[in-house]
């Protein structure tokens, strides 16, 4: 019995191959994978003092990858349409932006009648950036980086030993260790909000609640998926690690 995915893939590939010559504008030929990926354009309210931008080392939102026809950012080069299937594009890493920070003071000075110590905002911003960078490293390693993607290594680097000890098979799948991994995946524009639990200058926890769109390249068109949830980061010897997690991976299709 043939796999229905294969049948579907062949059918769609044939259609695309035959349809391409009929199109006059290359800008009107979005890559099927990205075209199926919902692009997040709306953002929550951004506090000027609290917002963080993505790590400069990380690419911004994949403006020219997929969906280019929709946002008008298509490259100017007039690519000639051909009947051949283009080589697969290199995987696109995630961009991750923290668009809201909520500071939750821990000092109990108020109830004992002492002056509440001021919050060190630089510590807050630094901690949020540390947690954000840890989440982005995990997302890229878990879903994008060839060699590490869909394996146990990235998620185990993300979690504290206590959290990792609670992993189940379903939990591993939610975090991207997939039993039947796709060939590759693209990251999307991920957005997080942060709760920072801070006692004066000491940040105890950073909880990131996030949503990360993913394009799994198993089939044509590619499969859109979303990982969302909350990770509670604590400072560890080797950086920020998630002490607790409640994360889901929603896949639109399961072969």
């Amino acid at each position: 019995m043939r796999c229905p995915c294969a049948r579907r893939s062949v059918a769609v590939l044939c259609a695309v191959a035959l349809w391409l010559p009929a199109c006059s504008s290359p800008a009107a030929t979005p890559e099927p994978a990205a075209a199926a990926t919902p692009r997040r354009t709306a953002r929550g309210p951004v506090s000027p003092t609290a917002s963080l931008t993505a790590d400069p080392a990380s690419p911004a939102a994949p403006a020219t990858h997929g969906g280019a026809a929709h946002d008008g950012a298509a490259p100017a080069s007039p690519a000639t349409a051909t009947a051949s299937v283009p080589p697969p594009a290199p995987p696109v890493p995630f961009s991750l932006v923290v668009d809201h920070i909520e500071i939750r003071p821990l000092s109990n000075a108020g109830i004992v009648g002492h002056a509440v110590p001021p919050i060190d905002e630089q510590s807050v911003v630094g901690a949020v950036e540390g947690a954000r960078a840890a989440l982005q490293r995990y997302l890229d390693a878990q879903f994008v980086d060839e060699g590490a993607r869909f394996t146990a290594a990235p998620l185990e680097a993300l979690l504290t030993p206590g959290a990792a000890a609670l992993l189940t098979e379903d939990g591993r799948a939610a975090l991207g260790q997939l039993a039947a991994p796709p060939a590759s995946a693209d990251g999307g524009a991920a957005v997080a909000s942060a709760q920072v639990l801070v006692d004066a200058a000491t940040v105890r926890w950073v909880a990131l609640t996030y949503e990360a769109p993913i394009t799994l390249r198993t089939t044509v068109p590619a499969e859109p998926a979303v990982q969302r949830g909350t990770l509670v980061f604590v400072a560890a010897d080797d950086g920020w690690r998630a002490q607790a997690a409640d994360v889901t991976l929603d896949r639109s299709e399961t072969p």
Binding site: I111, V112, L166, Q243, D246
Partner: protein, 283 residues
Amino acid sequence: MRRLAWLLLLAALLLEVPAAAVLAASTHRADLRPSYAKDGLLVVLAIGSDKGPPHRPGDPLRGNADGVHLIAVDTVAKRATIVDFPRDAWIGGDKVTHYLRLGGPEALEGQLEAYTGIPIDFHAVTTFAGIERIVDGMGGVDVVVDLPMSDPFSGSSFAPGPQRLSGPQALAYLRDRYSLPAGDFDRARHHGDMLRFAQAQVRTRQADLPTLVALTALFTRNTVTNMPPAELLQLAVLATQIDPANVAQVPLGGAVGTVDGASVVHLAPGDTFERIRAGQVGP
């Protein structure tokens, strides 16, 4: 040529339909919440001080303990017993309420350990304002008022039945003893009731991780505790893992008497402390 392409596209779409029909959406979930892990019993002393700004300026750690409760938790079986002490309980040659004023939470802890034989792991002290802020921070607490309450001193005015109390209402509910038939015995029991109601609410409605994080901060901000900061989140997780049906409440009773003209309670705890020492907690 273009017509042929469209026909083939249509055929492809027709083939796509049955393919899509056998594909289903799926959701995987990682719910990783390490809980406070301790072999044996975890015992927390919860103290309500009658001092603390703005209601009663002063150091809450040198006030009278109007609320004294031992919370014993089996961290493995996820069961708990809450023991409510009346403030006038005569323990170690003084009223239990006085030990906070005399020597802080450590002195009260020491006296209770000596009296009950139960080692206490942590204490947490809060104040009138702390209670108001914690309850308001939780969005109110759903309680079941068991007795009609109307007391101008505390501000209580409640008909029996289920209701959601705001912070100030919760404080009135917890302070009222004059309109209750058993006076301070009923008040101490109401304190234990409130602990149970709050735990049940967090477990059933507020156990999602972002809310739990926020509640951890709320608790920390409004108590004085010797719980290790690094373990507070695990302790909060533990609280959500206990089925309210597995929480027993033991309001201690006893004989009312006088010592040097002061009204005191000679406790009759029965086997309460022996059971806890043996690890038998919960209903």
